[in-house]
C-alpha cells in the first residue's frame, strides 16, 4: 500500500465531482469570520502569475473539511515572502531561473477573502456564514454554476441587472420583493451610471407590477428618450410601458414640448394649498432662519389659506395687511422682508398657480394606488434645487398621508391595502441631511420602513450627507464608484463585515460597474450592469413590444385618463 492510498483510507478525500470545482487558487492559512480569511495563493502554472488574475471583488469557493462550501469574495491581494532578505536581495532581472524558483517557493501571493455564504452538505439554499473553513481548505475560483446557484434564476420575482465581473454568462438577479420591501439606494460619483442602473431597476419593478413608482425626475432621465454624452439615444420608461403602467407628468410643459418629450399631463400646484410644512424643509436651501420659519406658521395662522399669495403679492391691500402685523409687534420688519426676499424664488415657479382646476394629488394617488407609475419631469426646474425639493416634499407629504389613511382604513384587510409605492428621489442627501431628516417626510418614510407600504429609492452622489440613521434603514445599496472616504464609509454604515469590501468599492470601474449589497441579494456582488438597450427593451416589452399602440396614442390615452 502506498502512503497515499493509506492516507486515502483514513481520510477519504472529497468525492465531489472534480469538474464541479473551478481553477484551484490556493489554500486557507488563517483568518477570522469578522476580519476575513487569508489565502496563500498557489504558485500556479506560470509561477507567481496567480495574483495578477485575481481581481478584488471576484468570487471564490472554499471547500471545507466537512463538505461545506463557503462562498467568499476577494477583498484584497498582496505580495508576501518567507524571508525578508528577499526584499533587499531580489534575483537579477536577467536571472529567470532564480526568479522562477523564488516565485514558486519563497515568495507568494496572498488574498484576503470575506466569507459570505455557506452551502451546507445536502442543502441547495446557501445561508449566511457563521463558521469558517478549516486550515488548509482548498480555495478555488467560483465557477458559473456556483454563482448561478447563489443568485438564483431570473423569474417574476428576480430581475436580471448585470453580470459578475468576468462571468458574462452568469446573470445576477435582484429579488424585487425584497428590493421594494425596504428603502433602497443607488449611490456613486457623477457619471458612474446611477441613472442608468436606476432606470434598469425601475423598468424591472414596473414590469413586475410589485410596486408603483413615483419618480421625481430631476434631470429628465426616466420619462422619455435620453441622450447620453455620445449622442446615443436610450428609451425612457414611457416608451417601454403603456399608459396603464407609466405616466409622465411635467412641471414644465413648454420645454417638454420643444424637446419633443411627450408627456401625459402637466402638474400645477395651487398657491392656496401650500402649507408652511411644505416649505420648512427648504430652510437649508433658502437659508431661512428658525425665526423666519416660525414666522411662516404665524402668517399661515393669521392670513389663512391665502398666506403665500399674500406674502408674494404686490397688491397694496395685501401689503397693508402684512404691515399691520409689524405695527402690532407680532412680526419684525426685518424678518418679513427677509422672507419676502427669499420667497422671490417662488415667483419663478411657473407651476404654482392661483387657480387649479383639479386636485392632482388625489388623481396621482389613485393612479399610484392602481399600479400606474408616475414620472414627474422637472424640465427647466431640474436645475432649481428649491423647486425640486419643494415639489417632491409637497407631493410626497400628501400622497404619504393618503397612504397612511388608506392603510389604516384597511386595518389588516389585505385587499384594501394600498398598492406598494416606491418614491424615487435624486440628490437625496438634501432631503435626508441629519439636520432635517428628523422632521421631513422622507426621513419619516425611511424610518417607518414599509409600515404604510411606502418606501424610498434614493439616488445620490454624496451618501455621506445622508443621516446615518436613515442610511442604516436602507436595505439594498447599489453603489457605483465612490472615491471620497466619507462617502465610502457612509454606504457601508450598518452593514456587518462589509468593511472588507471597501477596497472592492474603491476599485470599481468608472462606469457601469456597481457593488450591490443588502436585502435584495444573498451576498454582496460586484457587477457590470446590464446594458440598457435593445435587449432589455425587448425583455421588458415582451418581444415585439407594444408598438401596436403607438406612442402618440399612448399619450392621448394617458391624457384622457388623467384629465378626463
Amino acid at each position: 500500500m502506498t502512503i497515499e492510498s493509506e492516507l486515502e483510507s483514513i481520510f477519504p478525500s472529497n468525492k465531489d465531482d472534480p469538474s464541479n470545482l473551478g481553477l484551484r487558487l490556493g489554500i486557507i492559512v488563517g483568518g477570522s469570520l469578522s476580519k476575513g480569511l487569508t489565502v496563500k495563493l498557489d504558485a500556479g502554472e506560470l509561477p507567481g502569475s496567480m495574483i495578477e488574475q485575481l481581481a478584488v471583488g471576484r468570487y471564490v469557493v472554499v471547500q471545507g473539511l466537512t463538505e461545506r462550501r463557503f462562498f467568499c469574495i476577494v477583498t484584497d491581494v498582496s505580495l508576501e515572502h518567507t524571508n525578508p532578505s528577499i526584499e533587499s536581495n531580489p534575483p537579477e532581472t536577467t536571472d529567470i531561473y532564480t526568479a522562477e524558483i523564488y516565485r514558486s517557493t519563497l515568495v507568494y501571493g496572498r488574498a484576503n477573502v470575506a466569507p459570505m455564504l455557506v452551502l451546507e452538505r445536502d442543502s441547495e439554499e446557501p445561508r449566511p456564514v457563521k463558521t469558517i473553513p478549516a486550515h488548509f481548505s482548498v480555495v478555488s475560483q467560483a465557477n458559473e454554476e456556483d454563482v448561478a446557484r447563489v443568485f438564483g434564476k431570473a423569474d417574476d420575482d428576480h430581475f436580471y441587472i448585470g453580470n459578475p465581473i468576468e462571468m458574462d454568462q452568469v446573470p445576477i438577479n435582484v429579488n424585487l420583493d425584497r428590493f421594494i420591501e425596504r428603502s433602497s439606494g443607488v449611490f456613486g460619483k457623477s457619471g458612474t451610471g446611477k441613472s442608468f442602473i436606476t432606470r434598469t431597476l425601475l423598468s424591472g419593478i414596473v414590469k413586475s407590477g410589485k410596486a408603483s413608482c413615483l419618480i421625481f425626475d430631476m434631470h429628465n432621465d426616466y420619462g422619455w428618450a435620453i441622450k447620453n454624452e455620445h449622442g446615443r439615444e436610450y428609451k425612457g420608461l414611457q416608451q417601454l410601458f403603456d399608459a396603464n403602467r407609466v405616466n409622465v407628468i411635467t412641471l414644465d410643459p413648454e420645454t417638454s414640448q420643444t424637446r419633443g418629450n411627450r408627456h401625459d399631463g402637466a402638474l400645477h400646484i395651487p398657491y392656496d394649498a401650500i402649507e408652511p410644512e411644505d416649505i420648512a424643509m427648504l430652510a437649508g436651501v433658502l437659508t431661512l432662519s428658525e425665526v423666519q420659519v416660525n414666522a411662516l406658521y404665524f402668517l399661515r395662522r393669521r392670513l389663512g389659506r391665502k398666506w403665500l399669495r399674500k406674502l408674494l403679492s404686490d397688491d397694496e391691500h395685501d401689503q397693508t395687511e402684512l404691515d399691520e402685523f409689524i405695527q402690532q409687534g407680532d412680526l419684525i420688519k426685518g424678518t418679513l422682508g427677509a422672507i419676502q426676499r427669499k420667497f422671490e424664488i417662488f415667483r419663478h415657479m411657473g407651476f404654482l398657480q392661483t387657480n387649479v382646476r383639479e386636485d392632482l394629488v388625489e388623481t396621482l394617488f389613485q393612479k399610484l394606488n392602481s399600479g400606474i407609475s408616475i414620472v414627474l419631469e422637472f424640465g427647466i426646474y431640474g436645475d432649481n434645487l428649491p423647486a425640486y425639493m419643494f415639489v417632491a416634499n409637497y407631493l410626497t407629504r400628501r400622497i404619504h398621508h393618503r397612504y397612511v389613511a388608506t392603510k389604516n382604513k384597511a386595518f389588516g384587510h389585505q385587499g384594501d391595502e394600498p398598492n406598494p409605492l416606491m418614491i424615487v428621489i435624486e440628490e437625496a442627501h438634501k432631503f435626508l441631511d441629519p439636520e432635517i431628516s428628523q422632521h421631513t417626510i422622507f426621513g419619516t418614510i425611511a424610518r417607518e420602513l414599509r409600515k404604510y407600504n411606502v418606501t424610498l429609492l434614493v439616488v445620490d452622489q454624496r451618501p455621506s450627507g445622508i443621516d446615518d440613521e436613515v442610511m442604516s434603514q436602507i436595505g439594498t445599496r447599489v453603489t457605483c464608484l465612490l472615491d471620497n472616504e466619507s462617502d465610502i464609509r457612509a454606504v457601508f454604515s450598518g452593514v456587518s463585515g462589509a468593511s472588507a469590501l471597501r477596497e472592492v468599492l474603491a476599485r470599481l470601474d468608472t462606469q457601469q460597474q456597481a457593488l450591490i449589497m443588502g436585502h435584495a441579494v444573498p451576498m454582496p456582488v460586484v457587477i457590470r450592469t446590464r446594458d440598457y438597450g435593445p435587449e432589455l427593451y425587448a425583455e421588458i416589452t415582451g418581444g415585439e413590444s407594444h408598438d401596436i399602440q403607438s406612442d402618440g396614442e399612448k399619450v392621448a390615452q394617458a391624457k384622457a385618463d388623467l384629465f378626463g
Binding site: 524571508n83 536571472d95 531561473y97 519563497l106
Partner: protein, 190 residues
C-alpha cells in the same frame, strides 16, 4: 567496499580503471543480501600515498619517462567515499537513509542513466546531502545535479533543474545567500 555506516560508505579501487569515479557521481551498492541496493553520491576521493611513492618523491633527478611509466602502469589505490541518499527495493526507489549499510567487500557499481533518472525523479535526497556534515555540501549538490540533469534528454533538463531548485529553495529558505550561490552555480555548470 572498505568501510560503511548508515550514512555512507567508502570503497577502494585502483587507478587507472576504465571508469574513473568522479565527485558527484551516483553509485549503488548491494545491501541486505541483495534485497536492497543502496544509492549514494560520491563526496570524496582520496588518493592514498604508499611507501613506493614516498621513495619516488625522495629520489633525485628521476627521468621523465620513468614517471610517465609509473603513472600509466602502476596501480594506484584510491579511496572513494559515498554519501548514502537512498535505496531501491524491488521496483521502488526510496529517498532516505537505507535500513542497513552495505557489507564490506561487496561490489560497487556506477548507476546507469536510467537508474539516475528514476532516482532523481524526486528531490528528497537533496535534504540528505544538505544535512551531511563532512562534505563541501554546496559543491556536492551542484555536481550531483549536474550529473542527474546530464542523464536526461536535453528537453527535460530545464524542468528538472527548476524542480530541484524549488526543493533547494524550500530547504534553504532561511539561508538566502547559500541558496543564491548554489542556484547561480547550477546555472553556470549545467
Amino acid at each position: 567496499m572498505l568501510r560503511s555506516d548508515t550514512t555512507g560508505f567508502t570503497f577502494g579501487c585502483l587507478l587507472p580503471e576504465p571508469e574513473v569515479p568522479l565527485f558527484g557521481d551516483f553509485v549503488k551498492a548491494p545491501a541486505q543480501q541483495g534485497l536492497t541496493e543502496i544509492i549514494g553520491v560520491i563526496h570524496n576521493i582520496v588518493i592514498e600515498d604508499d611507501l613506493f611513492v614516498r621513495q619516488l618523491i625522495a629520489a633525485p633527478d628521476l627521468p621523465d619517462a620513468y614517471i610517465q611509466d609509473q603513472r600509466r602502469n602502476r596501480q594506484i589505490p584510491i579511496e572513494v567515499s559515498v554519501l548514502s541518499v537512498g535505496y531501491s527495493s524491488g521496483n521502488t526507489m526510496i529517498q532516505g537513509l537505507p535500513p542497513q549499510p552495505p557489507v564490506t567487500l561487496d561490489y560497487i557499481k556506477r548507476c546507469s542513466i536510467n537508474d539516475m533518472i528514476a532516482f532523481t525523479d524526486r528531490q528528497d535526497y537533496l535534504a540528505l546531502i544538505l544535512n551531511s556534515k563532512e562534505t563541501p555540501v554546496d559543491e556536492l549538490i551542484v555536481a550531483a545535479l549536474q550529473r542527474a540533469s546530464g542523464a536526461r534528454p536535453i528537453e527535460d533538463r530545464a524542468l528538472f533543474l527548476i524542480q530541484a531548485g524549488k526543493e533547494l529553495a524550500r530547504l534553504l529558505s532561511d539561508d538566502l545567500s547559500k541558496l543564491d550561490s548554489i542556484l547561480r552555480r547550477i546555472q553556470v555548470n549545467t
